[in-house]
Symmetry: none
Amino acid sequence: MKITDKKKAILDTALTLFVEQGFHATSTAAIARGAGVATGTLFHHFPSKEALMEYLFLNIKQEFADAIKSSMNPDDGLKANARNLWFSALEWAANNPVKQHFFQLYSLSPTIATELREQAMNSILGFITDLIKQGQAKAMIADYPIKLMQDNCHGQFLAATRYFSDNPDYWHIDSHKQASFKLFWHAIAS
Amino acid sequence: MKITDKKKAILDTALTLFVEQGFHATSTAAIARGAGVATGTLFHHFPSKEALMEYLFLNIKQEFADAIKSSMNPDDGLKANARNLWFSALEWAANNPVKQHFFQLYSLSPTIATELREQAMNSILGFITDLIKQGQAKAMIADYPIKLMQDNCHGQFLAATRYFSDNPDYWHIDSHKQASFKLFWHAIAS
Amino acid sequence: MKITDKKKAILDTALTLFVEQGFHATSTAAIARGAGVATGTLFHHFPSKEALMEYLFLNIKQEFADAIKSSMNPDDGLKANARNLWFSALEWAANNPVKQHFFQLYSLSPTIATELREQAMNSILGFITDLIKQGQAKAMIADYPIKLMQDNCHGQFLAATRYFSDNPDYWHIDSHKQASFKLFWHAIAS
Amino acid sequence: MKITDKKKAILDTALTLFVEQGFHATSTAAIARGAGVATGTLFHHFPSKEALMEYLFLNIKQEFADAIKSSMNPDDGLKANARNLWFSALEWAANNPVKQHFFQLYSLSPTIATELREQAMNSILGFITDLIKQGQAKAMIADYPIKLMQDNCHGQFLAATRYFSDNPDYWHIDSHKQASFKLFWHAIAS
DNA sequence: GATGAATGAGCTTTCATTCAT
DNA sequence: AATGAATGAAAGCTCATTCAT
């Protein structure tokens, strides 16, 4: 299914405006204006403003998942792959500042329906859950309830990227990246 | 200066509705109706809907800070006091489910102006920062940048209470509370 | 660019209501109702109630200017043309009672921003200023500061139409029209 | 009937604010605040905001009338007394800029009920009408309908003070005052 | 006389969405 | 597919006025 230029323009503008002004403060008229299309056009491609947001949310999550999944190396051990994931996630965030900001704003926001957030967590990012379970089976990761582990990982990742967003100079300094990974890993390692 | 009954009723209703429906989905008319006052009365006590939200935010943060601060014991060591704080924070959250939900929704939300969030973090919860610094001086806590430590602690606490909110049966089961504390402590301990 | 029927209806209704009830006493809802359109439609065509008023003001001034300008005759002398203008202005006022009333109410009112009133005076009615200057150059009109002359002419015209509005029977009686012109002309003739 | 300090403060503040911001843009709360009294106090002294405005209007008109009436000299002829009145009126306006501005804004405004404006014109400023009639009887003043003469005088006076308000440097320059009087007098002299 | 919390109808403006073209 | 004028419910907020103290 080829995305038309207009649909693409709407998505790009919506992403930017949702991040710059927030979902509620962004009118569909403003999105259409920014995208250079008529107000009605938006509703040809998306049944509602909410649906547009959901489309954005799932697509960006997927893009993120694809990006970091490719950093995993079957030859590496568990901790090495955890590091691979953590560093490639930080790199993706550094290279996609607007989408990273989008994550900060909406990953936990009630703007996104709870089911959708869970769906993203489970199906798109499910391979991370798998990894944790493997680590627990090998007694390399603390054997606490999987939901607790998921929430903790998610929370620490958002905290880390928030730190780097607030201090953009550190995105590419190794010591800061290492520090953030160590906090994360020490928490979950058993 | 005694807070009028009407003002109290407005605050209580606003807290409930902001949590149940979200800030934007809650109209000032609904707050007034719920509080049993006229729409004008809300604006007699608060210059705007935003100001009402800010008042709620700062007051609840302060109440939380006061509650957990009193759990600290000067005779206890650093780790013991960290545990005191963590457990009393969980207890406060368990006993104040609406306010805890309010934290989940608005602690990091752009609905609250950045400066206000920082003010809350620095002045109201500044004693936690002090504690981290003491731990770093004694080499008991990892010597990473203080902002990174703050963000990590905050992120882990929100993750933990999110876990318990999603699984309310566990609020009072010691093993779950211990698990959440261990994740937290292992992350930051050096 | 054709003015939509709805836009025209809004303008007509607004003119009538602003004159009948005053600007502040006229709600945008009442204008929309009177024009037979939805409240939103008004704001689709005009960004604000003030902008609607400004549009009306400038358009009516322009219409008035066009009407009286066409009464001038290059073959006539200065005084004859002054009389042409004065009588055609009275005629326009008699034939457009609502717009004439609008002038009475808003020509000097702070409801209209000062800059707008000056813009109307200078660009739309600038040809009158030119005429006064020609008369002064020919020593047929008193050589007082041009601003004083402008204000005096404007003031006398408003006074005259106020007189006729209060006594509508006189609009078409020549002696009254002549009297009003003589007061005007004797004031400014040198 | 002695005017209490609070009532005086309310009147002073209302005058200033009505002139600075306009009648509708001035809230009774703002008047009370500016006067240093409670909102309820205003309504102890005046039954409504309109009544406060009317009180101001009539009192200032009366003060103006008293001021210029005292400039008349029974020993002077008609034209001399007309000049006395005109110059003392300009002087009063120059010395009472706020009240003068109040005249500009409200003398013809629909904010003031028509009856009230006519009452002021007839009873407070009736001596001017008398003067015009005397002049007409002596054939010194053009014998046009008295209402036309009233309106013309009023219109010219407002035009003159508007000119001086816009060019405050000229208030005390004799040539400008003389010019404004000559325009006025030539209009009505027969 | 003075206070100021409380009122609630009313205001202007916004905006997601529709639909005839 | 694309347009943009039109919709109308709903929003946040104002404000003259009242009244118990």
